[in-house]
Structures are given as structure tokens and as C-alpha cells.
């Protein structure tokens, strides 16, 4: 009496494991474009998705010096304390994203596209891949 029941449970468990494995194989892993910067100094706290900054897109249009020299953006993810007030005042992103040279701040969803709670980091960077690989996916936004 116990034997067939036990076997069928085993089979059910095996089937369930297979189904879970098939599902897990289909879930996404982080494999962002090299240099994409996730900015989450204030976004999650303010109830917004983090910003994903496509570095490559801007590099095609501007030399490094424009943003990192003239606009004073430091070579450090999380080191600039950019917020919407500064952007609206024409600092940082706001120097171009003013509705003239590039689209303006009311297009929230073009910048705030990150999956919720992503921490601030440079994606595919050496530090992310070799030194702190655990944080790559969806670490909680405890980090400022």
C-alpha cells in the first residue's frame, strides 16, 4: 500500500523539479550592455524605478570631455548625487535634456527604466564581474 504511493510522490516531485528547472532556464539574468550605469541614489526612496544610463549611446554623440569635463560629472557611479531639481536647473543631464537638444524631463519612463531596486553600479564592469559579482542582479536598495 505504501510503496506505490511513495513512488508516485517521488515521480510527482521529479516532475515538479523538471518543471521548475524548465522555468528557471527561461528566466532572465543580468547581461546589460557594457558600461550601462544604473543610478539609484534617490530613485527607489522616491518610489521611482532606478535610472539606466546608456553610456554607449552618449559616447556616440559626445566626447567624454563634454560630460566629464564641462558638465563636471565625476568618473564614479553614485558619486554625483544627481537629482531632478538639479536636472531641471540645467545641471548634469539637464544641460542637454531640456526639450531642445534632447527630450525633456517629463519623459520619466525613458530614463527610469531599471528593474525595481537595482543598486547603483556600472554594468559589466570589472568590479561588478570580478570583485562584487553577487550584487549584479537585484540586491535590495539599502545602499544609498
Amino acid at each position: 500500500m505504501t510503496r506505490p504511493a511513495a513512488r508516485s510522490w517521488q515521480l510527482a516531485a521529479l516532475a515538479a523539479a523538471l518543471a521548475i528547472a524548465a522555468f528557471a532556464a527561461g528566466t532572465r539574468e543580468a547581461r546589460a550592455e557594457y558600461g550601462d550605469v544604473v543610478m539609484n541614489a534617490f530613485s527607489t526612496e522616491a518610489g521611482m524605478r532606478p535610472v539606466v544610463f546608456p553610456h554607449w549611446f552618449h559616447r556616440i554623440r559626445f566626447r567624454c570631455k563634454v560630460c566629464h569635463g564641462d558638465l563636471g560629472i565625476k568618473f564614479q557611479a553614485g558619486g554625483n548625487q544627481i537629482n531632478m531639481l538639479k536636472i531641471i536647473d540645467g545641471q548634469f543631464c539637464g544641460a542637454c535634456h531640456d526639450g531642445g537638444m534632447a527630450w525633456a524631463v517629463e519623459n520619466c519612463n525613458l530614463c527610469h527604466t531599471g528593474t525595481p531596486n537595482l543598486p547603483t553600479q556600472v554594468h559589466e564592469s570589472t568590479i561588478q564581474k570580478l570583485i562584487a559579482p553577487g550584487q549584479a542582479k537585484t540586491a535590495p536598495a539599502a545602499k544609498k
Binding site: 504511493a5 508516485s8 510522490w9 515521480l11 510527482a12 521529479l14 516532475a15 515538479a16 523538471l18 518543471a19 524548465a22 527561461g26 532572465r28 543580468a30 547581461r31 546589460a32 550592455e33 557594457y34 558600461g35 550601462d36 544604473v38 524605478r49 539606466v52 546608456p54 554607449w56 549611446f57 559616447r59 556616440i60 554623440r61 559626445f62 566626447r63 567624454c64 570631455k65 563634454v66 566629464h68 569635463g69 564641462d70 558638465l71 568618473f75 544641460a95 542637454c96 537638444m101 519623459n107 520619466c108 519612463n109 525613458l110 530614463c111 527610469h112 527604466t113 531599471g114 528593474t115 525595481p116 537595482l118 556600472v122 559589466e124 564592469s125 570589472t126 568590479i127 570580478l130 570583485i131
Partner: protein, 321 residues
């Protein structure tokens, strides 16, 4: 109790075993509901399901490319996901599989017929069709078995490099903005490629004028202040010495970006190690984050130790450590 167990067992087994069948059925359903509008009649050159002539040239580029085109859209008229952004990626792939599957089966007889009927003068094009069709058919069933023993199993295959925002794992595909963003490959396709980072050779792209990044924010015609001076750094160990070119750096950067915060502009004043660079200091401020990473050893360690390249040794200002 017993019936419960059997029901659970049956459900579990169904979920596990019926996946491929479900996949095919889903593909057909998605095709009929969404894709058939254009693809059934081949509107604007859309490949028709099961039509070997339509699919053979596309299959040549590989299934991954077909999936990518289906998901991201093409310049020729395919909208991303056929204009149905809400469709899950898996459904789009399943629909593509459904359309291709017919073509792969139909390809064999069609190709044979073409060869049989071809007169000598028209032999070349039909021969290529015949050559590609069986290959396309062959990749269908065999792909699962060969993948397990493929080369570079742990490396990211080319089809998964430079993924579009909706698939890169950090953009939220549920946000409408994600689907409006430019996929990197669309921008990179005209640029020279490299082996790491974005897989774009940015310096070459600039030199060949494939891109025209502005030097001043609002002045399209402004020119960079370029300084052409190589600095040779002798390194410990067996690695070739490092040649640092100011030229390629000043094409992008201002002096103040690096001096004096990252590098003191003085001979021997800068301690450097690969460990520090890996941690983001010195060269690591950019290399390993946005510029080519340290895996490309020879791009920096480029000067052979014993002055075999005559003439290069004397004029450079050597910087001792």
C-alpha cells in the same frame, strides 16, 4: 487520497513532458492571432510560413538572428514583436519557430526540384539554395544534442551580446520607455568591432569617422585639442612594457579629466598595478568600466622588452616606476 496523488502526478508529468508540444501549439496560436495578418500573404516581403524560398536566406544567418529580428524589428519593415509589445518573448520565438518549422521541412524537396530543373546557365543561384536548405533543415533537430558539447560553453555566444534593452536584465520590460530605447546593435552595426567591452573599437570608429561625437556640447564643428605624446612605462616581470598614447586619449578627454586627480603629471610619481586598476584606480577609472577592459592585455602592453623594435626606444620619455 489516492485520486489526489494521481491527479497531482498527472499534472506534474504533463507540465514537464508536454512543454515542447505546448510550445509548438503556442507558436501556431500566436502566429494565427498576430503574425498571419502580414506573414500569411508575405506583405512587404514578410517571410511566409513554410515557404522555403522565403526562409532559406534568413536561416543562413542563424535562428538567433531570426529571433532577434522578430523581437527587435528590422529596417525592412518588421516592427518589434510584430507591433505587439505586450507579447512575451517566448511567444514571439515560438511563433517564429512555427513559421520556420514548415520551411525547414519544405526546404528539402524544393531544393531538390530546383537542382533537377536548373539549366546549366542558372546553376549558381539554385546550387546555393540547395546548399543552404539541407543545412537549415539539419540544424533543426540536431541543435539540442550538439550544444552540450559545443566549444566555449561558458562564454556568451554572439547572439547574446549587445542585447536589446528589453532583454538585458536591467531594463524593466514592463515600462513603455524600455521598448522605445535604441538597441545597441542597431547603433553598432556600422562601427568597427572589437573583442571585448561593447565589442566596438571606439578609437577606430572615431578615426574612420563612423561616429562624430561633439567636442563641445552645443557646437557640432568644434575640434578636439589633440596631444601626440607616447609615454613608455617599463613594467616588472615578463610582460611587454606599456606604451601609453596621449593621442587616442586626448581625442576623447580633456587634460583635466586625468591630471592631476588620477595621474600626477610627473615622471615616477604614479604607482600603478593591475590590482589597483582592477579596483578602479588609475586607468581603471575608465578601463574595465566603459573603455576596453583589462582582458585586452596587449593593447597596453605593446612594447617588447629588449628593444627589438629599433627606433622606438630612444625618443620616448621613459617613465620609471
Amino acid at each position: 487520497m489516492r485520486t489526489k496523488i494521481t491527479i497531482r502526478l498527472a499534472a506534474g508529468a504533463l507540465a514537464a513532458l508536454a512543454l515542447p508540444a505546448l510550445h509548438a501549439q503556442d507558436g501556431r496560436q500566436t502566429y494565427e492571432q498576430k503574425c498571419a495578418v502580414c506573414h500569411a500573404a508575405g506583405l512587404a516581403g514578410a517571410p511566409r510560413p513554410g515557404n522555403a524560398a522565403d526562409w532559406a536566406p534568413r536561416l543562413k544567418a542563424g535562428k538567433a538572428a531570426i529571433y532577434r529580428n522578430a523581437l527587435q524589428g528590422t529596417m525592412r519593415g518588421m516592427p518589434p514583436k510584430g507591433g505587439n509589445p505586450d507579447l512575451p518573448d517566448a511567444a514571439v520565438r515560438a511563433a517564429a519557430d512555427y513559421m520556420m518549422a514548415g520551411a525547414a521541412i519544405a526546404a528539402k524537396p524544393a531544393a531538390r526540384k530546383a537542382v533537377a530543373q536548373a539549366p546549366a546557365a542558372a546553376a549558381a543561384p539554385s546550387a546555393t539554395a540547395a546548399a543552404t536548405a539541407p543545412v537549415a533543415a539539419k540544424t533543426e533537430p540536431g541543435s539540442g544534442a550538439t550544444q552540450a558539447n559545443a566549444f566555449n560553453r561558458l562564454l556568451r555566444p554572439p547572439s547574446r551580446r549587445n542585447p536589446p534593452p528589453a532583454e538585458d536584465g536591467i531594463h524593466d520590460p514592463a515600462v513603455d520607455g524600455t521598448l522605445q530605447l535604441q538597441p545597441p546593435l542597431a547603433a553598432f552595426s556600422s562601427m568597427p568591432r572589437s573583442n571585448a567591452g561593447n565589442r566596438v573599437d571606439w578609437v577606430k570608429a572615431l578615426a574612420e569617422e563612423k561616429i562624430a561625437p561633439r567636442w563641445e556640447r552645443d557646437k557640432p564643428d568644434s575640434a578636439a585639442v589633440v596631444m601626440d605624446l607616447n609615454i613608455v612605462r617599463e613594467v616588472k616581470g615578463s610582460m611587454p612594457d606599456v606604451v601609453y598614447p596621449h593621442k587616442q586619449h586626448t581625442e576623447w578627454l580633456d587634460c583635466s579629466n586625468c591630471h592631476p586627480a588620477l595621474f600626477v603629471p610627473q615622471k615616477g610619481a604614479n604607482q600603478m598595478s593591475m590590482a589597483a586598476i582592477l579596483l578602479g584606480q588609475g586607468c581603471g577609472a575608465c578601463h574595465g568600466r566603459v573603455a576596453f577592459p583589462v582582458s585586452e592585455c596587449r593593447l597596453c602592453h605593446s612594447k617588447k622588452k629588449d628593444g627589438i623594435t629599433a627606433g622606438a626606444a630612444a625618443p620616448h620619455g621613459d617613465t620609471p616606476r
